[in-house]
Symmetry: C2
Subunit: 384 residues, 2 copies
C-alpha cells in the first residue's frame, strides 16, 4: 500500500517530473566539474549555475547587484552567514521564537564563544503572531545589532512580517537574516530595499528542487568572512579564498546535478499565488474538520491569510510520536511528530506534555482524498 | 561532436549506469527526509544511509567500531575534521607538498587564528616521492602533533606511503588525517591499525558516485568538536548538537539521492585491482608516447607502481591554459590545466613558467582510441 505523504515541510515530495528529467539528463550528459575546466562541458555547467542564480534573484525580487551563494543545504547557508559575521560581545541578537536549529544552534555556538545577548522578538501568546509594536519597543530599549527570523514557521505555518521587522531593525543599522526555507517559491518575497541582508533558501522544500542545493541571497552590502574554505578551481597558489562574491564563499566542486534539478524546478514554479491559495484552502479544510474532533488541539496563528499549508496539532491523551506511529502503521500516512527542530516556540504552544506536535505538511501534490483519509484516521485515534 | 573526457581527476564521468538508475529511482519513490520522520519511507531512507556507511567501512578496511561521517563534499569533510580539532599555538603540523586547497586553505585559516607551525614532509626532488627516512628525521627533530597527507596526488597521480608515515607519526601521538579523494575505490586502503585517524573520501571521484556526498572515516578515538551545527531531527530542545557519532557531525537533511547513487556505485565497485591496473596500463602507454614528443615535460613519480591514472605535463613554448584551449577547441578534448588547487608542489615541479600543468585524468571508461587522439593532438601542438 502506498504511503500518503504529508511531510512536505520536511521535504517536498514528489517533485515535478521536469526535475527528475533534468537531473537524470545532466547526470548522464554533463555532470562535470563546473568552473574548474575550460572545456565546453565545464563551460555549459558554469552557464547553468549562473542562470540558476538569476532565477533565484528574480524569484526573490532581489536587486540586480545582489549575489546568490549556493551551499549544499539551507543549514550550511545558515552556518556560512552566521559564521561569516564579525561578532562582538556587545552584540544584541534578536531572534523570532520560530527559529529552526539551523539558525539557533549556530547562534548558541557563537554565543558561547563571544558572549553576546540573544533576545526573543515579542510574540502575542494568544494569536501566536509577532507583536510588532512590542518589537519596536524592544528595539528602542535594546538596539538590535543582528536580527534573525524565519519567513514561515515550520511548526505553525505562520508567515512572519519580515519586511516590517526588517524595516524597524534597519533604523538601528542591524544585520537582518531571514530563513526562507519554508517560503521561497510559495510566499511572495521582495528583497529589494527591504532591509533584509541575507535570505536563506532550501532547494528541496518550497522550491520543489532536489536535496543537495540551498544557499542564500546577499542583498545588502555586508561582506562575510569565508567560513568554509577549500579549493575554488582558480588562483590555487593563494593561501586565502580568492576572488569575489559568490565564489569566495563556495569552495569545492559545485553539485551541478542538484543545481540542474533546482533550475528545472524554478522553471516549473510559475504560479505561486495559485499554489499558496491551494495550500491554504486545503489547510483551512483540514483545520475546520480537526476543530470538530474532541481532544484535538490546534496550534495556529489567528489570521488565516498569515498561514501556509503547515498544520500542527496534538491529541489529548497521546504523545505526538504515538500518533505518528499509529498514522504510519495503521493508515500508511507520513507526518512529522515532535519538536520539529525548533527550540523556542514550545513554551508558547505548551505542547511539551505531548512531546511536541503532530505536523501535517501539505504540498503541491497533496490531494483532497488524502486529507479525508487523514481526518478519518485522526477521528478514530482521538476516539481511542 | 562529442567531447573526449579526460578530466576524471576533477570528477569521474560518466558514472556506471546503475548510479543513474539508483538516483532516479530513489528521487521518484523515496527521496524523503531520512531520520526525521518515523514513517516507513523515512526508515527506508535511514536504512540505506546506514548500509552505505557499512560499504564505505568495508571498502576502507576500517575497524568495526570506526564511524563514517557523511558530508556534502570532501571539501566539507576537511573543514569538519580540521575545524573539529582542538588547536594549540604549539602544534607542529606536517603536510605533504601534494595537499589540495581543501586541506591547505583550511590549515592556513586555523594557522592565522592559532599561530601553529606548518612543516612540509620531505620530498625527494628527483623522484617526486616522499623521502621516508628524511621524514622520520624531521619527526625526531620536531615532533608532529598533526599530520595531513593526500593518499594520491591529484597532480602527479603519486600514491603516498600513508601507512609508513602514519606509523612514524603515531610514535609521537600525532593526529593523522589522510585525504583519499583520489584514492578510495581505486587504491587499496586498510585503515584498521594503520594509525590513520581520519580518512576523507569524495563520492564523485574514484568512487564513481555522484556529486553531493563525501565524508570521512573516523578510525581512531579522537573526538571532533562539531564544526557545522544545525537541526538533527532529534532532541530539538537541546541548544548543542545532540547525540553521538556520526549524527553529531551531520546537521541538516541528508542528501538521500546522492547517497543512493554512492550506494549503487559501491555495489558496482568490485574489482579495484583490475581497475587500477587498467588505469596504470593506459597511463604508461600515454607516458611512453609523450616522452617521445619533443618539448613535452612530464611530472612523474619515478616508481610506476606508485602511480594511478593521472598524468601531468607541460609543453615548452606554451602556457598550460593555451594547450587546454587548443585541445578543447581544435580536438574536443577535455583536460584540466593550471595549478590544480595544489599550492605547494609547484616549486618542485618548476611548472610556474607554464602557468601550471596540463593534467590528463584517466578513468574507468577511458578508451585507448581516446588516448590516441590526445597523443596525436599533443604531437601537433608541440610541433607548433
Amino acid at each position: 500500500m502506498e504511503e500518503i505523504y504529508l511531510d512536505n515541510a520536511a521535504t517536498t515530495f514528489p517533485k515535478p517530473e521536469c526535475v527528475y528529467q533534468a537531473m537524470d539528463e545532466i547526470a548522464r550528459t554533463g555532470a562535470v566539474n563546473a568552473g574548474r575546466g575550460s572545456y565546453a562541458l565545464a563551460r555549459q555547467a558554469s552557464g547553468l549555475i549562473e542562470s540558476t542564480r538569476k532565477q533565484i534573484k528574480e524569484l526573490a525580487g532581489a536587486d540586480d547587484v545582489a549575489e546568490v551563494v549556493f551551499t549544499a543545504s539551507a543549514t550550511l547557508a545558515c552556518n556560512v552567514i552566521l559564521g561569516g559575521l564579525e561578532w562582538k560581545q556587545t552584540d544584541i541578537v534578536y531572534v523570532s521564537p520560530f527559529e529552526h536549529n539551523a539558525m539557533m544552534r549556530v547562534l548558541y555556538h557563537y554565543q558561547k564563544q563571544y558572549g553576546f545577548k540573544i533576545i526573543e522578538l515579542a510574540l502575542n501568546r494568544e494569536s501566536l503572531e509577532l507583536d510588532l509594536s512590542q518589537i519596536r519597543f524592544q528595539f528602542t530599549r535594546e538596539h538590535p545589532t543582528v536580527v534573525v527570523m524565519s519567513h514561515v514557521s515550520n511548526v505553525t505555518g505562520y508567515i512572519l512580517p519580515i519586511n516590517e521587522v526588517a524595516e524597524s531593525a534597519k533604523q538601528y543599522g542591524a544585520v537582518v537574516a531571514v530563513d526562507g526555507s519554508q517560503a521561497l517559491g510559495l510566499v511572495p518575497v521582495k528583497l529589494k530595499e527591504s532591509g533584509i541582508d541575507f535570505y536563506v533558501f532550501a532547494g528541496h522544500k518550497t522550491l520543489y528542487g532536489p536535496f543537495g542545493v540551498g544557499g542564500f541571497i546577499s542583498e545588502g552590502d555586508i561582506s562575510l568572512k569565508p567560513f568554509l574554505v577549500g579549493g575554488t578551481g582558480s588562483d590555487s597558489l593563494n593561501p586565502d579564498m580568492p576572488g569575489q562574491m559568490p565564489g569566495i564563499l563556495e569552495p569545492g566542486s559545485p553539485n551541478i546535478v542538484a543545481i540542474a534539478g533546482l533550475h528545472a524546478a524554478l522553471e516549473a514554479c510559475c504560479d505561486m499565488e495559485r499554489q499558496l491559495s491551494q495550500e491554504r484552502k486545503f489547510a483551512e479544510y483540514l483545520i475546520e474538520k480537526l476543530k470538530r474532533i474532541d481532544g484535538v488541539l490546534l496550534y495556529l496563528p489567528w489570521d488565516e491569510m498569515k498561514r501556509t499549508g503547515i498544520v500542527s496539532f496534538s491529541i489529548e491523551g497521546y504523545r505526538a510520536d504515538e500518533v505518528g506511529m499509529l498514522l504510519d502503521e495503521d493508515y500508511h500516512i507520513a507526518v512529522r511528530t515532535g519538536y520539529q527542530c525548533v527550540p523556542l516556540i514550545h513554551k508558547y504552544l505548551k505542547d511539551e506534555k505531548y512531546g511536541g506536535v503532530i505536523r501535517v505538511g501539505i504540498g503541491r501534490f497533496t490531494k483532497q482524498s488524502e486529507l479525508e483519509i487523514l481526518i478519518n484516521a485522526i477521528e478514530e485515534i482521538a476516539e481511542g
